[in-house]
Structure formats: structure tokens, C-alpha cells
Symmetry: C2
Subunit: 387 residues, 2 copies
Amino acid sequence: MRVGIIGAGQLARMTLESASALGIDAVVLAETPNESAARTASQVRIGSPHDTVAIRALAAEVDVVTFDHELVDLELLSALESEGVVVWPSSRTLLNSVDKAAMRRLCERHALPGPIFVIIGASDRVDVADLGQLLGWPLVLKAARGGYDGRGVYIVDGPAEGARVIDELQAAGTGIVAEAKVDIVKELAVLVARRPGGETVIWPAVETAQIGGVCREVLLPGSVDPDLAERAEALARQIAEAVDLVGVMAVELFDTTERLLVNELAMRPHNSGHWTQDGSVTSQFENHLRAVLDLPLGSTSMTAPAVASVNIFGGPEGSPSLDDGMAGALAVPGAHVHLYGKETRPGRKLGHVTVTGEDAGTARRLAWSAAAALGTEVPREIGEQIR
Amino acid sequence: MRVGIIGAGQLARMTLESASALGIDAVVLAETPNESAARTASQVRIGSPHDTVAIRALAAEVDVVTFDHELVDLELLSALESEGVVVWPSSRTLLNSVDKAAMRRLCERHALPGPIFVIIGASDRVDVADLGQLLGWPLVLKAARGGYDGRGVYIVDGPAEGARVIDELQAAGTGIVAEAKVDIVKELAVLVARRPGGETVIWPAVETAQIGGVCREVLLPGSVDPDLAERAEALARQIAEAVDLVGVMAVELFDTTERLLVNELAMRPHNSGHWTQDGSVTSQFENHLRAVLDLPLGSTSMTAPAVASVNIFGGPEGSPSLDDGMAGALAVPGAHVHLYGKETRPGRKLGHVTVTGEDAGTARRLAWSAAAALGTEVPREIGEQIR
């Protein structure tokens, strides 16, 4: 069994760890030999995810093509599919994570709850004041394609600022999704794995803390009540069927007290699921491989009552290096440190640390303490909570 | 942090999985590019563990040299140490696993319990009848160096057979350890990790089933009573100090009802510790890396009350291939399948499967069921017990 992975970031790197354990041969397509997974893979091909020749060559040497990221060429993938190449998730499924407008239309078609939205094509003329009238100020403008980790998302306060952002995005050739800004009580994420034929497993819903559009921590059970978690998990199952998912998908959700709203979809292992490596019987990376190879999926049960996973970011200039911080981080009881093999740079995501335990509060404090030892600045709002 | 591993078998492969997670750079020295770890490593050097040039080149490019196996050149390692190369475990520690005569002398020096023994040098003359008089018939003859997985161990019934084995081994240039054959009630193993400076962690003692000198399953807690387990763990700690261990060591023990006897030592991650990947907070592979890099050691707590780990062996000609058996194995609830990337061959160790749970009997049945799906023949005596 041989899998080709387009992209060589940390998701590919962690997928390779699972592939090694399962005895699965894996090849990664990296843009440069310095990328996270290119540093650990035994089989690396160099090429862009948009390079037809590179993608075709990769497809020719593997049983299934899958992905580390969503910056892919859907037309090329669709052409390969029609030639008989096995691509999972499929280009039709991927469309819903590559293109936020397609995702919102999907939600509408399946009556999935989301904020009110308006789709603005790359060359559509739009009256921004009318848009504000409809959605309310401030409103959210998102690049339909190409954004990630908070990039490509703008919260605008009035018509002048809105018009400027729309002009800029349209000039860059992208469509726009305008959404009503909702009052978020908390953010949740649900991870689901699905096999061709429909076998589906769902991990328990997690609470995530996003600061500046970037995921800082994942808590389980966090403050999510079981009823809400159950509704979130049911939504994830419904979406997995609607998009005919094969592989792992993350569904990011807003809890707005009245309603649970779909925020984003990712058709791959996801930051909100890194806790599964140490806190679940089967990790998201292993189940992604099992799903795309059409093998039975593994249990998504937790291995402990509580899990906290905290992202490691490069601190400001002069912060300790990862090497210097490692002893301090590993001295934290139960800290599972995962590093991505990247050079430290202020604000760069370098890894994560997961702690499991009896009690979410303790696991969270320990995980932050290990992340801080590795140079991660603790955001003020989180620091106050874990004090 | 950069580690060089001499040898590229499955132990190196699984160590690489942990190195990837910890962001540790690793290089393996393989004899051929087809070996287990050479198939997954991003950095492979080709060379024999006895090739001075290859070993020196490896040492020059890493922070610490460690091992996948014990078929190493102690004199070469000792020379490197005196030149300042960091080698863990050290050549002095390794001597006690490379050479069974040295290990027995160690036991004697430290009053560690073992069978009565006689050491016979490669050119010593010995009266085999006297030997039988002293140790009793049948007695056990072991090649002092070079044996593994039951190879190099002979149980002989009388003087004629004994003389023949001794002649053969001496002709091959190896010394011999002659031991009284003991009545084994069960076999145990204890895994310990120790850092330079002495920080030591010990995993709970396991029961192992050896059939034909080959480990077939590892059970935890198995039928080992807590008092016996505690004594075994104390012995392992004592030995780790006596050999000034740095890294992971496995201590294999015989329970003879009256006494717990030291059987073998291995100065590396060991088959009896594969359960730690899925059943312990920290795996033996991760703690081996942490120890040789002088980083704080991780918790050895179990993640479930019971664990069973069963080795996967190639079945007779015509057995299903691993690829064919994978769906059946992964359909077993909670089965963690680990394959080593080796071609199937009858009797060849190809992987292992670990199941954790509330109850050792259930975990054992499930683990055997997954191993059987992958072509492993269930030994009659075990089949009867799990029926």
C-alpha cells in the first residue's frame, strides 16, 4: 500500500509517523527540501501542488493521492479522477474547503446552520451600504479562496472600509463571502473520519481558543456541555455525508447560545485534532490513512477523561530556542511534545504539546507550562484563566 | 539535536517515529537500503556496524551515537569514547548485553540472582561429565556472544551432546556460558530508562510468553502478582545502576517460584516493551531518545488497566499477505497494528499488535485475533488458553 501526499507541512510529517507504524509506504510532494515532512520522509519529490507534471508523476507511483493542505488545483485533480486516479478526499469534496462560497452554498442546500451571508463574485458590483443594511455592522468579509489561520478574513466597521477590502480582494481575483458577525460564546471543532462506502467515526467535540484567528489551545471536554457536543457531532456527521467525505474532516463551529453555526470546513487532519495522537485510541493521522486506503476505521474513544493541547509558537526575538527549552518542557509531568522540525521565527507555529489527565484544568495548566518553556507567549486572557 | 543510530531494524524504525514527533534529527547506519528503518528514514548511511570508517563518519555528524542492536564492535566504540564521542549506552554498559559471560560475572559481583553457571573460554578444555555433575542434566549452553531470539542457546541432555555443542561453539571462536536449567514458572521482563546523572524510570513488569526461544506475546499485568512485579522492578533498578545505564534496558527474568532469576539483559528498546507505544504515557522509544540526549524522562504510567501485545510472524507458504490481512486486523476493536516494512517470509517477525483495555483476557484475545488476521499462526498452548 502506497500513499502520495501533496504538500509536506507538519500534517504530512505526522501522517508519515502513522504510516511508518502501519507499514504503509508514503511519498510526499514538497515545494522545497526544507519543509517539515520533507525533513523526515524517506521518499520526497520536489514540485508545486499546481505543477501538472509533478502531480501526474506522483499519482503514477502511488495507490492513492491525498493532501497536507488545501492549496490545490481542483481542475487538475478532477482531470486525474476522470482518468482513474484515486484521489481522496475527492475534488468535489475538497471544493467545500477550498472555496468558502461553495461551503456556504452547501450549508444552504442542506439547511446546515450558519451566519447570514452574501456571496460576491470577483467581478460583481456591490452596494456596500446595502450589504451593511442586510448583515449589520460590523460585518465579516472573507476571501473565498486562499485564506488560512485568520489570513483572508476581515472584520469591517462601515461602508468605506468595506468597499476598500472588497476592492482589494476583487483586484486580487478572488470572490468574497460576506457574513453577519455573530456573537460567539465559544468555538468548537469536531473531527470526523469517513471511508468510501460510508463507515464513519467521530471524535468527541473539542473547545478551541482562537486568538487573532489562530488556534492557541484545544480543550476536551473544556466547557462544552454534553448536549451541545452531541449536536455538534451530529452536524459533523451530516456534513460528512453531504460532501461524500473520504478521509478526515474538521468542522469548526461557533456556539452563539441560541444556535450552533458552521464556521469553516477542512478536508484533512486539522490542528483541532492533534490531541488525538495522545488522547484518543486512534489518531486523526492514522484514521485519515485508514480512510483513504479504504481500511476499517479505528476507535475514537478518549484514553483519559480530559485532554489539553496547546500550540507552540516562536516567541519574540531573544526567546529561548526550542533546543534550549526542551529540557524544561519535558520536565512537565505528562507533557507530550510534538515539534515540526521548523526553524524558530517569532509568531511561527512550531509544534504543539498535549497533556492528558483526570481533570481538564490541570491538563491545561501543564500543557501551557510546557509550551511556555519552549518560548510560547501565554496570551493574557488565557494566562488569567489558568493562574 | 541530532542522533545517529547504528543499525536500521525495526527498533530504529520505531525510534525514528518518536524522533520525528520530538523534532529530533536522526540518521541511521544501515547495512542495506532495504532494512526496516532504511525504508522510512530521511537520512540513511550505508555501512556495517563493524566498519570503522562508516562509524567514525556517523559519529562526526551527530551529537550522540546509539544503537538498534548489539552486534557492535566494543573496541571501536571504546576508542571513539576516549576521543570524546558521546556513545550511549557506553561500551562498558553494552559489554553486559553483548557478552553473556560478562553479564553473569556482573550478576555475581553484585549478588544478583541467577542460575548457577560456569564460564568456558573459547579455548578452555572442559570435562563435560564434571559440568553435568555440577549443574545437573539437562544443562543449558549459551554462546557468550552473537546469539539472539533463541539462537545460540542449546539445551543438552548428556555429556556426548554437550561435548559436541561445546566443540562447535569453540570452533566458531566463541566462549560459552553453561547454566543449570531452571524450572520456569513464568517469564517476566522489566524495562528501565536511565539518564546520565542517574534519573531512572521503570515501566511495570510484564509477563512474556517465549516459545522456542522467541517472544510471542507480552501481557500486562498478566498473571504476575504485584509483590513479584515489585521485586522484578527493584532488580532492574539495581542492574541499571550497576551497569551505569544510559538509555533503555530490558531485563528478562525467570520466575522459578523460589526465586526470581536474571536471564538476559538488552541495552536498548526491546520487544518486551513494544506495548509502551500504546499502553504507556511515554513509549520506550521516546524515553530512549530522551535518555541518550540527557533530557528529562517521561512518565511510565499505563494508559489503561491492561495491555496485551502479540508479535506478528509470517505464516507458512500460502498464508495471506500483510496487505490482504490488514482489513481484518484493523477491524478488531482497539487493535494497534505496527508493521516493520519487511517482506513476508515464514517465521519472520513482521510486526506486532497491541490492544489496551479494562481486562487482560479480553485484550489478549483481541490482539491474537488481529495477529492471526495478518497470517500469524496461534501456538497451540496459547490457542487453548484464549479459547
